[in-house]
Amino acid sequence: MIAQQLVYGVILGMVYALLAVGYSLVFGILRLLNMSHGSVYAFGAHMALMAVTLTWGLPAAFIFTIVATGVLNVVINNVVLAPLRARNAPNITLLISVTGVSYIIQNGLMLTFGSTRMPFPKIFDYGNITIGGVTITSTQLSILIVTLLLFAILFLITNCTKMGLAMRCSSQNPKAANLVGIDVRKVVTFTFFLSGMSAAVAGYMIAGYYEMVYFTMGTAAGLKAFAAAVLGGIGVLYGSVAGGVIVGIAEAMATTFLGSNYAEASAYVILFLVLLLKPSGLFGKDNLEKV
């Protein structure tokens, strides 16, 4: 029973982690809470729905979803945020702007796709696997594999490529990054694409998992993933992964032992407790900017 719930929690948590990583990527480089991220994730799910409805087949639908959502995020940055940054707008202005963008995306989705819940075909449906009394569906297993794969890709990009080095430099000290010849604006654009990409994958996975897509689907998931990012230490990628998994497990456990009414709150209770003990989050770096 507990083992079974643990499996559910981990799968759910991996998807939260995907979203949390998106928050962390952008926060790491701009110190900005990208409140449009939940809506971008909903946008990804709708792009997936469109591609699936057009019977494009999984690989094409997957790539289309990633590219479309990544591009949306780049557009948000280049059209809304970059001009504000160029005028040295305070962070609060940027925060309000992305919150506005979030509603624009949501309403855009409603106007285009309607306000009802739309069915989404189950993905990777090849039956169940039972190991030692714990049943895991092929869908869950696939979500696990896909998210792990994406984390591996993100890890490789940030730690083993030149662009990743540029991302880390820009995140730690944008001025110095410019002075070694890094085009920080390009790095920010790329970061937004990566963040959109991970939101797209999360959207696709969750749509296929719950077999449902609707325009407000990003609100609760976005907030919980944000909690997960803060919990793990926002700006730290592996922290976000850990935070996501913790939130997922907490939610599954709360559903089982306390009832689903408490599930939604569990993420925030844990967040609160962790922040009381360690305000920078589990893996957060306290003195990042003091050195």
Binding site: Q172, N173, V180, N287, L288
Partner: protein, 239 residues
């Protein structure tokens, strides 16, 4: 006559509404060490950030190797061969020493050439090689300064800009940094230097410029400045 490497012509730079550089003109020739002297807020650092494109001038022009770089992006300016060790060192604290140096070579592509520069930097600063796996934030002030200069050397600069390289360092380290600046200069790198320690800076320099509230008020051979009464009174503290 040596070749002109860098020229500033009537450069005006603003920080918001503050007119920080008021028609600054300078010339730097190949192989020189040139010192900028001036009190806080005189526009020394702004001169450097105008050259590197961080605060592009509103008017006037900056010519590097015959090319106008006034409106160029920082990334392109660095790529042309201008390296800078900024004020306050500004190393990447949670990158290792090695990663910091690699970041310094960001504009370059040839792996063998980058390796050559790395060997050169380690030869100049053996301490950096010993600490190459350490996070830059855990280094001492002197080591961070070495790293900042080493990082600037990684772009294989023709012109090296050094903003207060001796600030906050113990006297023996200050001397070491100055010796290294001379060594780097001997390998054919032109150096532009900002220093609180004007006396020492002028000793190793060929020429100097004195800046006051955004204007060049005096310039000439370093030796002349060192013996100039006004300069001695205002900046050398041994009138």
């Amino acid at each position: 006559m040596k070749n002109k490497l860098l020229e500033l012509k009537d450069v005006n730079t603003y920080y918001g509404s503050i007119h920080a550089l008021k028609g600054v003109s300078m010339e730097i020739y190949e192989g020189e060490i040139v010192t900028l002297i001036g009190s806080n807020g005189a526009g020394k650092s702004t001169t450097l950030s105008s050259i590197t494109g961080l605060t592009p001038p509103q008017s006037g022009s900056i010519i590097f190797e015959g090319k106008d770089i006034t409106k160029e992006k920082s990334a392109n300016i660095i790529k042309m061969g201008i390296g800078i060790s900024p004020e306050g060192r500004e190393v990447f604290p949670t990158l290792t020493v090695m990663e910091n140096l690699k970041a310094g070579a960001y504009t370059r592509t040839s792996k063998t050439e980058i390796k050559e520069s790395l060997d050169h930097v380690f030869e100049l600063f053996p301490r950096l090689q010993e600490r190459k796996k350490q996070y830059a934030g855990t280094l001492s002030g002197g080591e961070q300064q070495m790293l900042a200069i080493g990082r600037a050397m990684m772009c294989k600069p023709k012109l090296l800009l050094l903003d207060e390289p001796s600030l906050g360092l113990a006297p023996n380290l200050v001397e070491m940094i100055f010796k290294l600046i001379m060594r780097i200069n001997k390998t054919g790198v032109t150096v532009m230097l900002i220093e609180q320690n004007a006396n020492m800076a002028l000793q190793i320099s060929d020429r100097g410029y004195v800046l006051e509230t955004g204007k060049v008020t005096l310039s000439g051979p370093a030796e002349d400045l060192r013996t100039n009464d006004e300069v001695r009174k205002a900046y050398l503290g041994n009138a």
